[in-house]
Subunit: 213 residues, 2 copies
């Protein structure tokens, strides 16, 4: 299931997958407790807005799954623990009339990496010792109706705040996009961007059954 291509772009810390158990529906999650390493097989949904210069702006709802490998926590204490993550598989599909069906998968040329740690700037609205989750993602947006496969060359930074359990299943999150994130035609990655993501909001789902994969 996982690609064996060696990525040329690595956005953060690689996490070992050897011998790490796959976790599916039925896994117990304990709040405020750093968990043993695992591969989380989770649902995900997302609402992305794409701007195509001179053509228009389109908002698309996506639904699908992710597989995330988590490292050994750096501490058994919740407050000081850091956990590193790699997004090892993703598939989301969405559709709109103008762009047709869109399938989003990981770009195998990028290692999509993340981490969960206590933020340096805790928000007033967050629970005590709530953590911050972030992930830098390289994706492929396949749009067969337009004959385009689009890639981002700057990572998409996905963040979840107020994390009280690992994984943060059920939490809403946001793509930290300032005004526009350029998307390039995979066939012409050194050319001008052909579209932009201008907004991205997502929600982590819960553990999926093994049969879903």
């Amino acid at each position: 299931m996982t690609t064996s291509t060696q990525p040329s772009v690595v956005y953060g810390r690689p996490v070992n997958t050897d011998g790490v158990p796959n976790l599916y529906e039925g896994t117990t999650v304990v709040p405020w407790t750093p968990p043993e390493p695992g591969i989380d097989n989770l649902g995900i949904s997302s609402v992305d807005t794409f701007a195509v210069p001179g053509v228009g702006e389109y908002t698309v709802e996506f639904d699908g799954y992710v597989r995330v490998v988590r490292s050994e926590p750096t501490s058994s204490e919740w407050a000081s623990a850091e956990v590193y993550t790699n997004l090892i598989e993703m598939k989301m599909t969405g559709e709109c009339e103008e762009l047709g069906k869109i399938t989003v998968t990981l770009n195998p040329d990028c290692l999509s990496t993340g981490q969960i740690r206590t933020p340096f700037d805790p928000y007033a609205g967050e629970g005590p010792s709530a953590k911050a989750c972030r992930m830098a993602v390289g994706a492929i947006f396949d749009m067969p109706k337009l004959g385009l496969k689009l890639i981002n060359r700057e990572p998409i930074i996905l963040t979840i705040d107020d994390v009280r359990q690992i994984p943060p299943a059920g939490s809403p999150g946001k793509g930290q996009i300032y005004r526009m994130l350029p998307l390039h035609d995979m066939k012409n990655p050194k050319g001008e961007p052909v579209a932009y993501v201008t907004s991205l909001r997502f929600r982590m789902g819960g553990y999926l059954p093994q049969e879903a994969f």
Copy 2:
């Protein structure tokens, strides 16, 4: 002056430097007008905050220069023109007691890329047809007092809003950092981050005299 190393990470569109003139102090900048290609040799200042887990948070003022190559505009009309940029050289120095002297240069393993275009979401406070400038940067933070050279693996996204002339000399800008940007030890780039940038604000200076380089 420009490094000849081939970067393995390219954050956007490469811009040709062959035959592109260097521009220094005395160059005329015409507002609301897409300029001919050039290499802008500009001053820059920045205030960066670094968080070192378990040690502290330090705010450092930097001062130095950048060299930015600009592409041919995609249109001679200001409103529709897009201009692509590469940061081809940077040197900034700053100092604080705890971290010592810090020198910031470009990471030759990354091609730092950017663009100037009309945003999809114009702000009320911006001038008519004001453009948005963004640059994705890979840097090295050399901290000899700590014996560390730190690199970012996610790009630092520098943005300038309300751009009424190219280059946007004199404009304030911001590093779009959500909570924390991980910095890795150059000697151990696959290890855990050793520090974070938690805030970055900068100001583009004007053209510098040729003797400054």
